[in-house]
């Protein structure tokens, strides 16, 4: 239980650019340690996204709950939100003394987010890349999200129903 919470604690420090950026590295950590199978991880991601709340926190709560029940869920959630609190405290303290160029930091962080989301997309998609139906669902939803203004949650549910229809 502590192992699991520690993974989330560690990842918490590098969770730059929001929740989605870390899903890829989180998958690598959890699967390589045998804490979740790729199949279970895929299910966790879907559930975390269709439940209200930030996806990364939901993922932490979900894995904790799946493995160790309520206590696990609580421990994981807390482990995951401690790093941002610590970093925020440090940032408040040093921001009075040191002046870093805000624009430069923002630009650099944006590049880091790009890297991490790329890793997320690749590691989420690659295991299923041989299945044709998967391309159809991901492709359709990509086009819909790029060309229309439909709310993402409806697109995800659409994807779910497409899955029921065409996946085997």
């Amino acid at each position: 239980m502590i192992d699991l919470a520690f993974v989330f604690f560690k990842i918490g420090f590098v969770a730059l650019g929001g929740g989605w950026a870390i899903v890829g590295v989180l998958k690598a950590e959890l699967v390589s340690r045998g804490l979740l199978t790729p199949e279970q991880f895929a299910q966790a991601v879907s559930i975390a996204q269709i439940t209200p709340g930030p996806v990364a926190i939901n993922l932490a709560t979900y894995t904790g709950y799946m493995h160790y029940g309520f206590t696990g869920a609580l421990l994981n959630t807390l482990a995951f939100i401690t790093p941002p609190i610590l970093v925020a405290l440090i940032a408040w303290m040093i921001s009075r003394k040191v002046r870093l160029d805000k624009r430069k930091i923002t630009n650099t962080l944006r590049s880091l987010t790009t890297i991490m989301i790329t890793v997320t997309v690749v590691s989420l998609f690659l295991p299923y890349a041989k299945i044709a139906q998967v391309w159809i669902i991901a492709g359709t939803i990509f086009l819909l999200s790029a060309k229309t203004k439909i709310h993402p949650i409806f697109l995800i549910i659409t994807g779910g129903f497409l899955g029921v229809l065409i996946l085997s």
Partner: protein, 151 residues
């Protein structure tokens, strides 16, 4: 979630829109889920450290119980083929949405040869050697920050 927070802040006249955007951009600079960070920083801004704690805790309570509830329900049907396919479909839809986010993110930036190389190299390394996560990210940050200084 963020637009709703902004709206509520103005409604209670706690914080003006431009001040809110300052807080939001700071929230993006610290690790962690952006919605959580924003709540934390807004709490601090309006009511000090105790406000930060109150807001931080308040923003994670609803999703926490939502997850516990949803998981308990899904568990009952975990053998159901259709639920499995539905979740798999959602998962693929998420991949589609992420590609769209990534596309916008790439489009919004300026890409020098140097930056492209660093970003591609870091992404490949991170994918192959996830265990060196922190080392890779810190060195990438430094590499990119130094170069950014010359613009």
């Amino acid at each position: 979630m963020i637009p709703m927070m902004m709206w509520e802040m103005e409604k209670f006249s706690w914080l003006k829109k431009d001040k809110f955007l300052d807080v939001f951009s700071f929230a993006q600079c610290i690790p962690g889920p952006i919605a959580f960070n924003t709540a934390l920083l807004l709490g601090k801004r309006i009511a000090g450290i105790s406000g930060a704690f109150a807001a931080g805790i308040a923003v994670i309570i609803p999703p926490f119980f939502a997850i516990v509830g949803v998981t308990s329900i899904v568990r009952l049907f975990s053998d159901n083929v259709y639920i499995g396919r539905f979740l798999k479909g959602c998962y693929m839809a998420i991949v589609g949405l992420l590609v769209n986010i990534l596309w916008h993110l790439v489009k919004r930036q300026k890409w020098s040869v140097y930056k492209t190389l660093v970003v591609v190299a870091a992404a490949v390394l991170l994918y192959l050697k996830g265990s060196f996560l922190i080392v890779i990210l810190i060195s990438t940050f430094i590499l990119l920050y130094i170069k950014e200084a010359k613009f």
